[in-house]
């Protein structure tokens, strides 16, 4: 549904965003570049201790990820093994006609009529309370459109 112009515009902007994203990876790219010249890499990363900042940071990250992700999994499997095969709570019986009738203050017979009708029109008051229902039963054929 985009015009060709829009398609080119958004596609170009997307390429620019990818370029900006790759800019964030410059430290890694520099490392790879240095890796081509082994002596430079050895000097910068080992003798000048350039790796230490990166490893320090990544170490922290991995530890935090392991703790957070691991906690989620431990919690999940704790619950699985604790409650496996157990129905701790009882099933609730299906809502019966009397319960529904009481909620809407109608008789069960009226409720049956509503649940059988093909077409209903409902009126509500300003607060959203159901005030009235007009219905067309299944047994009454449609006349006209």
């Amino acid at each position: 549904m985009q015009t060709a112009r829009q398609h080119v515009l958004f596609g170009s902007m997307t390429v620019i965003f990818w370029a900006l994203w790759i800019y964030l990876w410059l430290p890694i790219l520099a490392l790879i570049g240095w890796g081509v010249g082994v002596r430079i890499t050895y000097y910068q990363m080992v003798l000048m201790n350039g790796f230490s900042a990166l490893l320090h940071l990544l170490g922290y990250y991995l530890a935090i990820i392991a703790v957070m992700g691991g906690s989620l999994l431990v919690w999940a499997y704790y619950n699985y093994f604790r409650f496996r095969g157990m129905g701790r709570r009882s099933a609730v019986s299906i809502v019966l006609r009397p319960a529904l009738s009481r909620r809407y203050q109608i008789t069960p017979e009226v409720l049956d009529g509503w649940q059988d009708a093909r077409r209903l029109t409902m009126q509500h008051d300003a607060a959203g309370k159901l005030m009235g229902v007009n219905l067309r039963q299944r047994s009454v054929p449609e006349t006209g459109a």
Partner: protein
């Protein structure tokens, strides 16, 4: 207040703004991958659910307001679903277009279709409740007026209800509107956020919300919690929390694909996301006291994570403002934000974001099409949608705090994307 204290606060703010999305991304991925291997992998290519079929009669409820453009298609696709015994109730919520006439005409032609007309616009919550009132059956599948169910979606949802404490099953919304950049980004977003996070939340054991566009309910559970609340902007989030507070179980079914229309204009997207943000905060505020009890401790994880996400929205706004201000006027060193993306961490968060999206698209590839192509466009996601999420949250919080109590949430016509004329 000493300069050192302010400097420390600024550092904490920066660290939190940066590291919260970073580490939460790995939590989501961990949970989602666990879910995939435990619950999904064995049946990922299956057309029908494994094991003994559980196919009780269902009522599909479709609330509609001004859906004349989509009603025929939605009804037709719903009536064509692969399910043995069902009825469809379309609820016309006081539409001002031809929705009522279209539904009445369709009901004449289709025996399974019944129509409920609400004389005036009552909002989605009441529309759903009236559909539930008119429903014959115990199991209700509620979908939006523009939603197209996969033919076997209901079969996949219903299998969960064989377990008596399951109150609701949320489906897997997929985006139909992908002709524009916004549409494409939302395709990836729904996988990376909705799909990934739902799976992770199921690993945790509680979900933030069912998808309002497609969810199946047990009527007894709805009756137990008092159905949908018409005061809530996000009735889906509210009913989810009330069910879980009452110790019902909510499941996610990735096979239950539902194809929906999403906004493809900035204005439409803003309105939608603002409503979601307001709805989420409204629900959390309303249930904060319930959550504080020991009996509802299993909701604490969801609750705390949501609070963190609100805090993050405000922190990213503050960091961005400080950074921009520092470009214009000289700020003292202890509050100056030199760069919003610090050093090596920029590599990590950039990679993490793209990794999260890649993982989510891989998990969802069985339920959607051409997801690989979507990946190219997802580079926009952090810039566009993180900022959108932060801004809508920042705007939503004061709006909800100032909102009148018991103010009803009525329906607004949503942006359904851009279509061929």
């Amino acid at each position: 207040m000493s300069q050192q204290f302010i400097r420390d606060c600024t550092n904490v703010l920066l660290q939190f703004t940066f590291y919260y999305p970073l580490f939460m991304a790995y939590v989501w991925m961990t949970g989602a991958i666990n879910y995939y291997f435990r619950f999904e992998r064995a049946s990922v290519s299956a057309r029908l659910p494994p094991g003994e079929p559980f196919v009780p009669p269902v009522t599909v409820i479709i609330p509609m307001r001004n859906e004349a453009a989509h009603a025929r298609e939605t009804i037709a696709q719903t009536l064509a679903m692969d399910y043995p015994d069902f009825e469809v109730i379309a609820v016309n919520d006081g539409s001002s277009d031809a929705t009522a006439e279209i539904l009445d005409a369709l009901a004449l032609r289709h025996e399974r279709l019944r129509v409920v007309h609400l004389a005036a616009n009552q909002g989605k919550a009441i529309a759903l409740e009236m559909g539930a009132l008119a429903a014959k059956y115990e199991f209700l599948v509620c979908i939006d007026g523009d939603a197209i169910l996969d033919p076997c979606a209901v079969r996949w949802m219903m299998r969960h209800f064989a377990f008596p404490r399951v109150a609701a099953v949320t489906g897997n919304p997929r985006i139909r509107t992908r002709s524009t950049l916004l549409g494409k980004i939302q395709v990836g977003e729904f996988s990376a956020i909705v799909g990934l996070i739902k799976r992770a939340q199921r690993t945790y054991g509680r979900v933030f919300t069912v998808s309002g566009v497609a969810a199946a309910f047990r009527r007894s559970a709805l009756h137990d919690v008092g159905y949908w609340n018409p005061d809530m902007l996000a009735e889906d989030i509210d009913v989810t929390w009330r069910m879980q507070i009452r110790h019902w179980d909510i499941r996610y079914e990735p096979h239950a694909s539902v194809w929906i229309l999403m906004p493809e204009t900035f204005a439409g997207l803003w309105k939608q996301r603002l409503r979601w943000a307001m709805g989420g905060f409204q629900v959390v505020l309303k249930h904060a006291r319930d959550i504080g009890r020991w009996k509802t401790r299993r909701m604490w994880g969801i609750f705390v994570e949501f609070l963190f996400s609100i805090t993050w929205a405000y922190s990213i706004l503050l960091v961005t403002l400080l950074w921009l201000l520092g470009l214009i006027v000289p700020l003292p060193a202890y509050i100056r934000v030199a760069s919003p993306v610090p050093g090596w961490a920029g590599v990590v968060i950039g990679s993490t974001c793209l990794l999260q999206i890649a993982v989510s698209l891989l998990l969802d590839r069985h339920y959607d099409y051409r997801l690989g192509r979507i990946y190219f466009w997802m580079i926009w996601y952090p810039l566009a949608f993180w900022i959108l999420s932060a801004l809508t949250t920042v705007v939503a919080v004061p709006k909800i705090l100032n909102r009148k109590r018991h103010e009803r949430a009525v329906w607004v016509s949503p942006d359904r994307g851009i279509h061929r004329p």
